[in-house]
Amino acid sequence: MKFNHVVQRLRACASSLAVRRDALIDALMLVGARCVARLIRLLRMGAGTSLPGRVVDRLRPGLIERRASALPGGVVLVSGTNGKTTTAAMLRAILRAAGHDVVANESGANMTGGIASAFVLDSHHGTVAVLEADEAVLPSLTRRLHPRLMILTNVFRDQLDRFGEPERVVELLGAAARALPPGAGLIVNADDPLLWEATREAGPVGFGVRTSWNGSGTGSLDGASADGEPAVCPACSGPVRYASRTIGHLGPARCPACGWHSPEPEVKGTVLAESGVGRMVLEEDEWVVTLPLGGLHNAYNAMAALAAAGALGVRHDDALRALAHFHPRFGRAEEFDHHSRRLWLGLIKNPAGTGAVSRSVAADPSVGAVVIAVNDLDADGRDVSWIWDAEFEGLVEAGIPLVASGRRAEDVALRLKYAGQDMTPTEHEPLRAIEVASARCKPGQVVAVLATYTAMLDARRRLLSSRVASVEDRGPGDLAA
């Protein structure tokens, strides 16, 4: 009896030592990885946002999972084609305003390495993680990180040379939704018929956007616009009709043949007024909120973040207040001053998003010229055919001077010719394109830079190294003034 007792004590002691040893190794790994990240940045070998996580994940399997499960507020994953970065940033702003310390992959490094790095580089004990995840890695991340909440924004055709077909992306997101742990929350765009139907069994909360003006932001109410996905019923493949359309194939749809219809969104924003890139008035439930950024795509991002905040227990009015003070960054509606010229940077990567951004730029009276920069590197998608499905006609009709830039500047100029602008100046290098555009502006006007992913990184890097700071300290809703 006494002997058994001693053995038990010894075992407990040994296992607690083992736990402590594990914790020690974890801690050492983290310190080492943070040093590596600092070194990478110091030697200017990159941003150090992906490698440290990849290394730790390899050398110490399970550490990332332990870090994730140690967060009292749990993990939130954000995925989908458009709006990942902005939706995640909006939700972080809401949570930070509510006193959370948020673990984040803010620079948009959204593959497994970048997400592992977010945990590795978080040294001040976050309470909750809000991570954007690439669609391809979402199912495996879901199984590893056991998220408390998942947000799926939309599916548009994007990077077809990587994914093949948008249906494949819908499958990936559906698989991720099914892999959620019991009790986890799921927030899905109710206006995206195919995505909604692929995730419906997992019991999502829907969000959606309407406009106060009649009809559609894009295309006709039956049949898709060129920048949307085919308007077919997810149940019977018949043609669907829309009650209203916002972006591409997004909107409340109904199938006359089989009766399938979009769900009524539980969180629904109605855009009352849009005035360009810097301001939008939204009505939600009984609230009216002014967002400091424009475009119907950002109305969707805001509603997704709002629905998520509700699921995480943030008070509704607190969440709306945080949204009204949201400060966009990292090439998504970001602002710079360059040689006393205000620049506005917007990411474009596929037809639907480009159409939405172009429409808000064309409607903005403060925009004096626009640079459209398209690259064709792997991260952009090597096939640039998509620019022909994107609506640039509005920019041409608005008569705003346009400059084509990026590796495929000539393709952009040709696209604009067929949109009605005969000759478009081309400058491959983004800063020179910005200078050409700036020379065509009046004093005080803004140059809008619409750029694909690597073109955006290139432009930002050059802008930052030419010692211009991103514009900080900006009040809400005052951009277009």
Partner: protein, 245 residues
């Protein structure tokens, strides 16, 4: 106003995956810039093809969507056959090209019947062919270079009746067996198929003009189309042809 050229765009809201609108835009504008009146007719599922169509464009879609339009398209076998008989020009791109052939054999062995306007058949491969293409084309007496981007799983083999549209200088193209190796696209009477995106017509205006000239034959007889100021087209073409992979 009666149009000089009626251009039927088949299933524009379904077969639209790879900038297919650009091809229609190129044909429409390049005819209009020469003073022809063009009417573009969107032909949806169940719609009758306009009888006066001089040009028909069929784009590409995803596998799911091509399955959806497949049965509607098969109902048009006679309609489209008659159109080609009377000299209507038909352009099929990627999935549209495969539809113009006899059949498409999917990866699981299932078969989708085609329109039979081109003596070709397509078998799905185990991997997708994705990348840039440069090819030398010959179409109805016009010689020109093609540049574009291909993204397809199908391997297309040409029968005796069909002629290759081009020989491949870079990329894969048809990827079929036998004499189809090293070729891209197919031509038979007034039906033309190609795998190239880009979209292919704005980037290769000589291709667009060859199609237009043939489609406008009832109006212009054998007179060539007047040249257009194509500086932007030439710049985009040569920029695309300089890309390596």
């Amino acid at each position: 106003m009666t149009a000089d050229l009626v251009l039927a765009h088949l299933y524009p809201d379904l077969l639209l995956t790879y900038g297919d609108r650009g091809n229609v835009l190129a044909l429409e504008k390049r005819a209009e810039w020469r003073g022809f009146r063009v009417e573009v007719v969107a032909t949806q599922r169940g719609d009758r093809l306009p009888e006066s169509a001089g040009l028909i464009v069929i784009g590409g879609g995803t596998d799911r969507v091509q399955g959806i339009v497949g049965s509607d398209l098969m109902d048009r076998r006679a309609e489209l056959g008659d159109a080609v008989e009377r000299g209507c020009v038909v352009l099929g791109v990627c999935g549209g090209y495969q539809f113009l052939g006899h059949r498409y054999v999917a990866a699981d062995g299932s078969e989708i019947r085609g329109l039979g306007l081109l003596d070709v058949e397509t078998v799905a491969g185990s991997d997708r062919i994705i990348g840039r293409v440069r090819a030398t084309a010959s179409l109805w007496g016009h010689e020109f270079e093609l540049v574009g981007f291909e993204n397809h799983a199908g391997r297309t083999s040409l029968g005796a009746e069909a002629t290759p549209l081009a020989t491949v200088d870079m990329g894969v193209g048809n990827g079929g067996t036998g004499r189809s190796g090293g070729t891209e696209g197919a031509v038979q009477a007034t039906a033309v198929g190609t795998y190239l995106h880009g979209p292919v017509l704005p980037l290769n205006p000589a291709f667009a003009d060859a199609l237009l000239e043939r489609a406008l034959t009832p109006l212009i007889a054998d007179a060539p189309l007047e040249p257009l100021p194509d500086e932007m087209e030439r710049l985009a073409h040569s920029s695309a042809r300089s890309l390596k992979r």
